[in-house]
């Protein structure tokens, strides 16, 4: 498990109060973890803070799975 995924899981656990075991790259925020759009926004803000990156609002609004959030982190770090 890479460091980015670990940190992302920690943000998700903190925001949603779910068990870390429930989270895989295929997990969807809304259907699997019971999140709503505000929760997802909170996770995106957590990502921005933790990784010191800025996520474009249009990109952020398309994130539905943990894998997509991970991809977003990796792209933002590469930029």
């Amino acid at each position: 498990m890479d460091m980015e995924f670990k940190k992302l899981c920690s943000i998700i656990v903190d925001v949603l109060g779910v068990d870390e075991d429930e989270i895989t790259v295929d997990t969807t925020f809304i259907d699997d973890l019971g999140a709503d759009s505000l929760d997802v926004a909170q996770i995106i803000m957590g990502i921005e803070e933790e990784f010191d990156v800025t996520v474009d609002s249009d990109v952020a609004s398309k994130v539905t799975t943990v894998g997509q959030a991970l991809e977003l982190i990796k792209n933002a770090i590469d930029d």
Binding site: G17, L38, A41, Q42, M45, S57
Partner: protein
């Protein structure tokens, strides 16, 4: 600062009457509460110019410079994410960091609701923080939970609204055993939509609240309950209808009283009585609408709040902190002990109870189903 102060951040740029009224309200609150400290958030030079109009204890006032203002029409989540130098974002961050205990704003409701959750965050175990204004009734104020934060609430969330509303009312208005009611289209338990039918038994079983059953909207102004529970869609409709109807009626009465000389003389005679009655219906004395269940207190006042409402909202924060109402939420709702919220626990228990009550035929079918794989395994062994 050796003395233990209650620290309240005030949005000096929020609302139609900013910065004059928020600053004036803050000064009035400082005058009244000697262990209060206020941080005014907004454009420093503008705040200083306002403060120069008053005498106040400078030791208990700070200014946090914020150059941006979130406008009412801006999309809330985007504004919170992008306007990091705004008075709302900076004020909420003071609460998040623990520098202040509470934040008061007359600014954008949407940004305040989004920012409360995004920046301050929920108490662990609280599923959703509701916005809970007090409304006037014939028998004193009623707390409407939720009126704006959660349009599609779940049953377990409404249970938490009832619990938090009950604790809040007990502490803030002194009602010993607040009557909690669920908004419905009839008094009978079997009435309503799927959500209220699911919530009713959970509230009936919920410990620590005085649940009196369903309430119809027409009985709210009569004061038949102290805490009225609903999702934000219903709550917002109730609140707006309440405000609109009250305003229309007052205008109609005024028009009627001005129609003839006789009615004008009559108006003069009843004026003191009418004024007294309207004062009873003035809820600005209770401050603003709190967002309950956050890791600090966030209070939203009316957009056109005058100094007195801001002052009362600051005092509301003072009492909230002094009475440790967040601590009471945690303790009385069993939030830390259970990890999951009491509402969720209640929902799980209810589900288990329903399974227990299932008819013998359903039970037999369930047992048969659960035994089927075992039977298949046995036959495979043979």
């Amino acid at each position: 600062m050796s003395k233990k102060y209650v620290k309240v951040a005030v949005d000096a740029m929020g609302g139609d009457l900013a910065p004059a009224e928020p600053v004036k309200g803050a000064v009035q609150a400082l005058e009244k509460r000697k262990s209060l400290h206020v941080t005014l958030v907004g454009k420093e030079e503008v705040i200083r110019a306002e403060l120069e109009k008053y005498k106040y204890d400078e030791e208990r006032v700070e200014i946090l410079d914020a150059r941006e203002v979130i406008e009412m029409a801006e999309p809330p989540v985007n504004a919170i994410r992008r306007k990091k130098d705004s008075s709302i974002v900076k004020g909420l961050k003071l609460v998040k960091e623990g520098t202040c205990d509470a934040f008061v704003t007359a600014g954008s409701t949407g940004a305040t609701l989004a920012g409360g959750q995004l920046l301050v965050g929920r108490i662990r175990g609280i599923e959703r923080p509701p916005l809970a204004p007090l409304m006037p009734t014939a028998k004193g104020p009623v707390l409407l939970v939720d009126c704006g934060a959660n349009m599609d609430a779940r049953a377990s969330q409404l249970v938490q609204f009832a619990q938090m509303g009950s604790i809040y009312m007990r502490n803030m208005t002194g009602i010993e055993n607040p009557r909690v009611a669920l908004v419905n289209v009839g008094a009978e338990e079997e009435k309503g939509n799927a959500l209220v039918k699911e919530v009713f038994p959970l509230l009936k079983e919920c410990e620590g609240i005085n649940f009196i059953g369903n309430i119809e909207a027409r009985d709210i102004p009569a004061g038949d309950a102290d805490v009225v529970v609903c999702d934000a869609f219903v709550g917002n409709v109730i609140l707006k209808l309440y405000e609109g109807l009250a305003s229309t009626l007052i205008h109609k009465i005024k028009d009627a009283l001005m129609t003839s000389l006789r009615s004008k003389i009559g108006a003069l005679m009843i004026k003191p009585a009418l004024k007294g009655m309207l004062k009873e219906f003035d809820i600005s004395s209770y401050g603003g609408a709190p967002m309950l269940g956050l890791r600090g207190l966030v209070v939203k006042t009316h957009g056109n709040a005058e100094a007195v409402e801001i002052k009362n909202a600051i005092e509301q924060c003072f009492v909230f902190k002094k009475k440790d109402i967040n601590g009471q939420f945690v303790e009385k709702m069993g939030l830390e002990q259970n990890g999951k919220a009491a509402g969720q626990k209640a929902a799980q228990e209810e589900k288990a109870a329903q399974e227990e009550k299932a008819s013998p035929e359903v039970k037999a079918a369930q047992e048969e189903k659960s035994q089927a794989p075992a039977a298949e395994e046995r036959s495979a062994d043979q």
